[in-house]
């Protein structure tokens, strides 16, 4: 087990290093860049050259990359030029991360709470009209672009009916104490219930929009997996033994069907990140996804690099955790 984890961690380091190199070279080969973003209409070749020289952008790429690595070793990932100018890019990431964690966790929770029971329900009645309807419904969820779902939710719930806030993370004027950066948790920890409630209200719509991605997958996997398990010999045996339905469901069907579902949930992380770029943009929600979109648009290379690398690291770590969890649940894997 330990060897397995270590090997995976080593692999991860190699992947991230290679990725950072590719990213570095690629970003700098693009036209435009931070210099254009800073100078605007005032740009002349002379000013451009001066700024490039000051920022070290005129040096050959390998030299720039070497300097970058040297700084990274000292924990300095470069300075943001547009997302949060003057701030260390890693700090930008850490400021934004709690927002996205909050959003992703809530979205995943929503997807699980709705997806698993619905999938189970559909599987129990496989082939019925209810089943077909829910399946088609989940496919509609796939066919509607996430940003459009977000638009609709915002348009109706926030703008037309004024039920929930339009954008952001917390209403201006709420005097909240920041502890972890997870606004809802902060509010609970400091017992500032109004702040927690307000932050939660800001989360609902983006989380709903984002939840459509994992929901469709979780629903389908649960359904398929429950269908498989229902067909397994041990369930039939249990039925034949005359065990009560409740026991069969909880002890045999659900537990065994959950294994693939669990994997799926872990693997949704990547999809959630991609969805977060779109959702957070629509809701001007200050998370990592919005920072990613902004840094792309404004050519904030330092932030962009950190965000993409961090996304890769998080993604790999989550997969690793899922693998470990999987190994713990399924002893067959442990022995291999």
């Amino acid at each position: 087990m330990l060897r397995f984890v270590l090997r995976r961690l080593l692999q991860m380091c190699v992947v991230v290093l290679v990725l950072s190199m590719l990213l570095f070279a690629w970003l700098r080969s693009l036209p435009g860049g931070p210099v254009s973003a800073i100078l605007g209409e005032r740009q002349t070749p002379e000013r451009r050259a001066a700024l490039e020289a000051a920022l070290g952008l005129d040096q050959p790429l390998p030299v720039q990359y070497q300097k970058f690595l040297q700084r990274v070793v000292q924990g300095d990932f470069g300075v943001s030029t547009k997302v949060l100018p003057g701030e260390d890019a890693l700090d930008v990431f850490f400021t934004r991360l709690p927002a996205t964690i909050e959003l992703a966790v809530l979205a995943l929770l929503l997807a699980i709470v709705i997806g698993i029971p619905l999938g189970y329900f559909a599987a129990r009645r496989a082939g019925s009209a209810v089943d077909t309807t829910t399946v088609i419904f989940s496919l509609i969820g796939v066919a509607v672009p996430v940003f459009f779902t977000a638009f609709l939710l915002k348009y109706f719930f926030a703008v037309e009916w004024n039920l929930l806030p339009v954008s952001g993370r917390q209403t201006t004027g709420i005097d909240a104490t920041r502890v972890t950066g997870l606004f809802v948790l902060d509010g609970i920890l400091t017992r500032e219930w109004d702040a927690a409630w307000d932050a939660l209200k800001h989360l609902i719509l983006p989380a709903l929009a984002l939840a459509t991605i994992p929901f469709a997958v979780i629903f389908r996997i649960t359904r398929a997996s429950v269908l498989d398990v229902l067909d397994e010999d041990y369930v039939r045996t249990a039925e034949a033994k005359g065990l009560s339905t409740a026991v069969i469901r909880s002890r045999h069907v659900l537990r065994n069907a959950m294994l693939p579902v669990l994997t799926t949930i872990g693997l949704q992380a990547g999809g959630l990140l991609a969805g977060a770029v779109l959702t957070e943009t629509v809701f001007s929600y200050r998370g990592v996804g919005e920072a990613l979109a902004t840094s792309f648009r404004e050519k904030d290379y330092a932030v962009l690099q950190v965000l993409i690398l961090a996304a890769a690291v998080i993604y790999v770590v989550i997969n690793l955790l899922v693998d470990i969890a999987y190994a713990l649940i399924d002893p067959r894997i442990r022995t291999r």
Binding site: A37, E41, R48
Partner: protein, 559 residues
């Protein structure tokens, strides 16, 4: 804050009469809103499009930053609210010597900085010396100083600024290398505001460093100290909010609101929705399409006088056919600018007859706009032997500017007109930061034609046409390959150095005539009024053509 607050929150939760959000507000305002029910009196919340760079206006370059620092800082000279006119601010009067090289400023004697330091002649000179004496990174970062003054302490020969001398406690003399129309008007620039010398010193204000692809700013940039009606509160990065508090010891009329909050909302349609939801009190540059709807909903759209120019730039270096005046005139006649202005630009926009708006001295009122005449365009093209010429015509994406609310739409209109007279337009595009500006201002520029514009920094003809054509070698119009390019640059320099205002105005008028009738280096399209919008109950916003609104006169009423 925590224990007291928690108790208070519990109490309010128990009472549970008003909504939770308003409770928090009334508490924080220390009584302002108490008993008033759900009103937000005392706080003006403004939706900003982006995060500020930092809070030291000297190094700042973008409007989002200036909008915030403008509330905290003042310059020697100010701008009359609602116009571009120069008025006294921290200096009450100023007089030049005969050559226009030594300027004596009389200062206000009743001003203190937010940190209690006195504002006097020494403080002024300390500020100028600080701005003049920059390290390598600072010289590049301080764009506006570089732009108006040309150089720094390590290269005094090329600097417009030559020195500052405190001749009395409240009198300074600033020496410049030669007369220019830009001085002292440039002292209205937000970047050249007065800051507390003590705070500058303590916060190591000049300790800027280039690091990787960006600048890292010293501690001072996060704790600025000025003389203005508001003082710096805090920047809540996680929630994207900047809070400024009222300066109760302000030398003039104290601000009407006790607090301004700038909330960062990058998406434009979201800003509008937030305004409608009542969670912000205003935002800048509403989409012209939304103006009518916003007004209907009880908001007021404050339209500024246009102080900008949109033009179609031509680059004879990239396409030699454009060297022919007839071709350039043909292109101009082909454009139906009247229709463009009416159908694509907001109300109050106007067809341009020259490269500057009419409020700037030096504007030539006798110039007539080139008429829309496709037949004449075709005739001129035929005459020049350029029928069916190919034109690589570019526009930027991912940007809106006050002079072009929607570049793509303006481009489409122009392109259709050009194609109608038989020009073969090759559509090129790049994102604003992603190569467009590089390609336009490269040497040589890459596009045959492009759309671009300019918003004036201050009331000066040289700030417009001088920027466009004054630098012969590096300009976007490739005038260095035209026979008249050098003449134009020299004329501009000469006109700029005229001390007498009337004489100078006349010289610029003549240059404007030549530019439009004899040279036509590019095609001025339009002036477009940028607006800002405030919600119901907000009064006292005075729209400024320079987009330099000060919010100390703003009041926020209840719903």
């Amino acid at each position: 804050m925590s224990p007291k607050r928690t108790l208070a929150t519990w109490t309010t939760a128990l009472l549970a009469v008003a909504t939770l959000a308003s409770c928090a507000d009334s508490e924080r305002d220390g009584g302002d809103g108490e008993g008033g029910g759900s009103e937000d009196a005392g706080t003006f919340i403004f939706g900003a499009a982006g995060a500020p760079e930092m809070f030291d206006p000297y190094y700042a370059t973008d409007g989002e930053t200036f909008r915030i620092t403008r509330q905290m800082f003042e310059g020697l000279l100010g701008i009359e609210p609602g116009s571009a006119e120069v008025v006294p601010e921290l200096a009450t009067e100023w007089t030049p010597n005969e050559e226009g090289t030594e300027w004596t400023f009389t200062l206000r004697d009743d001003v203190t900085f937010h940190d209690g330091e006195p504002f006097n002649a020494e403080a002024v000179c300390a500020n100028f010396e600080r701005m003049f004496d920059q390290n390598e990174a600072g010289q590049v970062a301080a764009e506006y100083w570089g732009y108006v003054m040309g150089a720094y302490a390590n290269d005094p020969e090329n600097s417009l600024y030559q020195g500052c001398e405190a001749t009395d406690e409240f009198e300074v003399v600033i020496t410049i290398s030669g007369p220019t129309s830009g001085f002292p008007t440039m002292l209205t620039l937000e970047s050249l505001s007065m800051q507390s010398p003590k705070a500058l010193e303590e916060g190591d204000a000049n300790g800027i460093a280039a690091e990787g692809e960006g600048f890292s700013f010293p501690a001072y940039a996060d704790a600025p100290v000025g003389t203005g009606p508001f003082t710096f509160g805090e920047f809540d990065e996680a929630n994207g909010e900047i809070t400024l508090e009222r300066n109760d010891d302000y030398w003039g009329d104290t601000a009407k609101v006790s607090e301004i909050v700038f909330r960062v909302i990058p998406d434009e349609s979201t800003r509008r929705q937030e305004l409608e939801a009542g969670s912000i009190n205003g935002y800048d540059l509403p989409n012209p399409v939304d103006w009518a709807g916003l007004e209907e909903d009880g908001n007021s759209v404050e339209v500024r006088d246009p102080f900008n120019i949109l033009y179609l730039g031509l680059n004879p270096e990239a396409n030699p056919k454009l060297k022919d005046l007839k071709v350039r005139q043909a292109l101009y006649h082909a454009l139906n600018r009247e229709q463009l202005v009416q159908t694509q630009l907001p109300e109050g926009a106007a067809v341009a007859t020259q490269f500057m708006p009419d409020t700037v001295s030096g504007y030539n009122t006798s110039l007539e706009p080139y008429a829309y005449d496709p037949d004449e365009a075709k005739r001129l093209l035929a005459e020049a032997g350029a029928e069916g010429m190919t034109l690589e015509f570019a526009y930027p994406t991912e940007v809106t500017r006050p002079y072009m609310p929607d570049p793509e739409k303006i481009y489409e209109a122009l392109r259709t007109d050009l194609e109608a007279v038989g020009i073969n337009v090759k559509v090129v595009t790049a994102s604003w930061n992603g190569g467009y500006l590089d390609n336009v201002s490269g040497e040589p520029g890459k596009y045959d034609a492009y759309i671009l514009g300019w918003t004036g920094d201050y009331d000066s003809a040289h700030n417009f046409i001088g920027t466009f054509f004054g630098n012969l070698k590096d300009n976007d119009f490739g005038t260095d390959v035209m026979p008249w390019g050098k003449q134009l640059a020299d004329d501009l320099k000469a006109a700029d150095a005229i001390v007498d205002e009337a004489e100078r105005g006349a010289a610029f008028e003549e240059i404007n005539r030549q530019i439009m009738e004899e040279y036509l280096p590019g095609l001025p399209i339009s002036h477009s009024p940028p607006a800002l919008v405030v919600g119901p109950g907000v009064e006292g916003v005075i729209p400024s053509p320079l987009t330099a609104e000060e919010f100390d006169t703003v009041t926020v009423g209840g719903e």
